[in-house]
């Protein structure tokens, strides 16, 4: 419980951040920017976890651990994704998302 700040404030900020991330995912063509959008989304979720932990279950640490794990997964995901981007760059000489449509029908 933080003085003067109700829980909804945090949640609204994280929500807006989440949907900004979604918009980024939908608009951008460059795969690295899409990856950054995903990081934004994960980050907003992290904020939610910690806020719920703090406000609703202050005598436990579940939110903290969730965030820890999410951060670890985000790191793993980023490393794999970047390996894929580099590989793709070798094939197409750019990393536009339009290029990866070979698996369609």
């Amino acid at each position: 419980m933080i003085q003067d700040i109700p829980i909804q404030y945090f949640l609204i900020v994280s929500t807006i951040m989440f949907f900004v991330g979604i918009c980024g995912f939908l608009i951008r063509h460059n795969l690295i920017t899409i990856l950054m959008s995903i990081e934004l989304i994960l980050n907003s979720v992290n904020i939610n976890f910690l806020v719920f932990n703090k406000y609703l279950f202050p005598n436990q640490l579940q939110g903290n651990f969730f965030v820890l794990i999410v951060v670890a997964i985000a790191a793993a995901e980023a490393s794999i994704a970047i390996a894929l981007f580099i590989n793709m760059y070798r094939m197409y000489n750019n990393i536009d998302v339009e290029n990866i449509s070979e698996m369609k029908y």
């Binding site: 979604i22 995912f25 939908l26 608009i27 998302v97 339009e98 990866i100 449509s101 070979e102 698996m103 369609k104 029908y105």
Partner: protein, 639 residues
């Protein structure tokens, strides 16, 4: 009491041989495969002879009658507490006699084939299938259960198919094997329905119950009726159809002449001595039922047999293919056996027809096997089936000549050869029962003597001497079986059959009645003399006779156009009027509906596959907006 459990090995050894030869035969030297097959069969033969010895001479008949012994029985399929299918070995006079016949002929054919099939590319396969056939046939005759017999019928049909199609590169052999299989299969369908009908009412498959004198199991069948005949009559009639198909009775005879496309030893074994008498055996097995419960069907059997024998004998006169002549004579002789069963009574002297039928089956197996093996020897020597290519062979092939002569005399019914004794019993039985059948049989006896002698004189006397290469006597492997069978064909007639194989198991004294024997011998002799005059040297009398007969001759030469009639019925009538509409229905309605479904799905898929654009963001957009719409929907719904 003798323990007969070992008899199961009579059936199993050929099966084991089939498995060994079938799996490993191609890796063996051909001769090894042949010797292995013959050795296995030799063991079987010894066992069969032992069984016959024990059964007929060692075991004490109960009340003077040979009883049927279930030597081995195992439950195979259990339908309910009371109804189940058994597989096993049933020993009674006819099955023991059949064991002896089958193993003897099969052993002779095995030994003969080692010589006859030498150098054939399918040598090992041939022996494997011979073993399979022997197994099936033995399994058929020892059936304890009518279903086992049905299985045997199917399996001999299958092995017959495989052996007829041995030269499968030849289109005619393939066609013949298909024809044999389809026709007999068609008849077996009747057999199956008959079995189902009979066992539906009697509630059992067991021969011990079905052929019991106590007829209580059939009471319910007598009451149910269909189209004016009782269910029992129908059932027995349908069962007879199965037998008629296997025994090539008119009008299901068309497959047998074509089956001669197979190797000659096969013709000797399957299409003369053993498989084709399966139908006779079936009727004999169910004889008590036919006699007491369905006398109408038995009468019908007698007429079918008599007609077939006459019909086939007439055709045989005009044929030129040596094996086809023998095939038609087989038809004719099996007709004899059928008619003998048909005119037989039951018990003691009255059952002389039954005894005569089995007797004739026995002697026929010997002399017809001999005839076919002799024909094989001739074909082997001059590489042709055609009578017109042969002549004057007695100089080149003395052993074949003598043994063939014995066989011809035997089938013509000249005393003291075996055919005379059994044929005489048949004629006696027919005389007692039905004069019409009797006269037709006597006529057939004369015709038989005539066409066999025609064959004999044309081949061994006649004109021709300019062979491309000198014909020579066959090897010992082929002539020894001929000599053994010639011995059997000469002396088999002296076996007092009436003290072993009778309708009720009780021995009786059968006597040779001169009033029957003398006319039949006279007519047979006259047939032989006529043939001698016409054919012993080249003359143009036969040709003149042919010309004067005109259409009759052509009809006979073409087997009374029966193949053509069948073709007309199937091609023109059944194919056009039944099959075509059904095919149309299948193609347009059934297939059409399936195709329609496929077409609808395919068209829709093509239409909507654009949704699967491969554009990641499009998917994400659909996903997110879909989620939002769902949330809105549920929010509206629940709040």
């Amino acid at each position: 009491m003798i323990d007969y459990t070992y008899t199961i090995w009579i059936v199993l050894i050929p099966l084991i041989m089939f498995v060994i030869l079938g799996l490993f035969g191609s890796k063996m030297k051909p001769n090894l495969a042949g010797i292995l097959g013959s050795a296995g069969l030799f063991t079987t033969t010894i066992l069969s002879y032992l069984t016959a010895y024990f059964y007929f001479f060692k075991a004490e008949p109960i009340n003077g009658a040979f009883t049927s012994i279930t030597a081995y029985n195992v439950e195979w399929l259990k339908f309910s507490d009371s109804l189940s299918i058994h597989l096993g070995v049933l020993l009674d006079p006819i099955s023991v006699m059949m064991l002896v016949v089958i193993t003897t002929i099969s052993l002779m054919v095995h030994i003969y084939s080692i010589g006859y099939m030498k150098g054939d590319s399918g040598f090992q396969r041939f022996f494997a299938f011979l073993s399979l056939f022997t197994f099936s046939m033995l399994g058929l005759v020892v059936s304890t259960d009518i279903i086992q017999m049905y299985i045997g019928f199917e399996m001999v049909g299958l092995s017959s198919y495989l052996l007829i199609g041995h030269y499968y590169e030849k289109p005619s052999a393939v066609a013949a094997s298909n024809k044999a299989f389809i026709v007999t299969r068609f008849a077996d369908f009747g057999f199956l329905i008959g079995i189902l009908l009979v066992s539906f009412y009697t509630g059992t498959f067991d021969f011990n119950v079905l052929t019991n004198n106590d007829a209580s199991v059939y009471t319910s069948m007598g009451h149910a009726s269909f189209l004016g005949m009782s269910a029992l009559t129908w059932g027995m009639f349908l069962i007879f159809i199965g037998g008629a198909g296997k025994s090539a009775m008119f009008p299901l005879h068309i497959w047998l002449p074509d089956a001669m496309e197979g190797p000659t030893p096969v013709s000797a074994l399957i299409h003369a001595a053993t498989m084709v008498v399966a139908g006779v055996y079936l009727v004999a097995r169910m004889f008590i039922v036919y006699h007491f419960q369905a006398p109408g069907t038995l009468e019908f059997i007698a007429y079918v047999g008599a007609f077939t024998s006459l019909f086939a004998a007439i055709i045989a006169i005009t044929q030129y293919d040596i094996k086809r002549i023998l095939a038609f004579s087989t038809l004719s002789q099996i007709g004899y056996m059928m008619l003998a069963l048909g005119v037989s009574g039951y018990g003691g002297e009255g059952g002389v027809g039954y005894m005569a039928s089995m007797f004739h089956l026995f002697t026929h197996a010997m002399f017809k096997g001999l005839l076919f093996l002799g024909a094989g020897s001739i074909i082997h020597a001059i590489h042709s089936n055609d009578l017109r290519d042969m002549g004057n062979l007695r100089k080149y092939m003395p052993i074949t000549f003598i043994t063939f002569a014995i066989a011809v005399l035997s089938i013509s019914g000249i005393p003291p050869f075996s055919g005379f004794w059994s044929k005489d019993e048949i004629l006696a039985a027919a005389f007692e029962h039905n004069k019409l059948i009797y006269f037709s049989s006597v006529l057939v006896a004369g015709l038989t003597a005539f066409y066999m002698s025609r064959l004999f004189f044309t081949v061994f006397y006649g004109k021709k001497t300019d062979y491309k290469h000198e014909p020579h006597e066959s090897s010992l492997l082929m002539t020894i079986p001929l000599m053994i069978l010639a011995f059997a064909a000469t002396f088999a007639g002296f076996i007092p059959f009436s003290s072993f194989v009778t309708s009720d198991g009780k021995a009786f004294e059968s006597s040779l009645s001169l009033s029957i024997a003398i006319p039949s011998v006279i007519i047979a002799l006259s047939g032989i003399v006529l043939a001698f005059l016409l054919y012993h040297k080249k003359s143009d009398v036969p040709d003149k006779i042919t010309v004067s007969l005109g259409f009759l001759y052509r009809a006979t030469l073409n087997k009374f156009y029966f193949d053509e009639i069948y073709l007309f019925v199937t091609r023109k009538i059944i194919f056009n009027l039944i099959s075509r509409p059904i095919a149309w229905f299948d193609k347009h309605i059934i297939d059409g509906s399936m195709d329609g479904i496929a077409w609808i799905i395919e068209t829709t898929s093509i239409k909507i596959k654009g949704l699967q654009s491969g554009q990641l963001q499009q998917y994400a957009f659909v996903f997110v907006s879909g989620t939002i719409i769902l949330v809105l929907f549920f929010a509206y719904w629940f709040i």
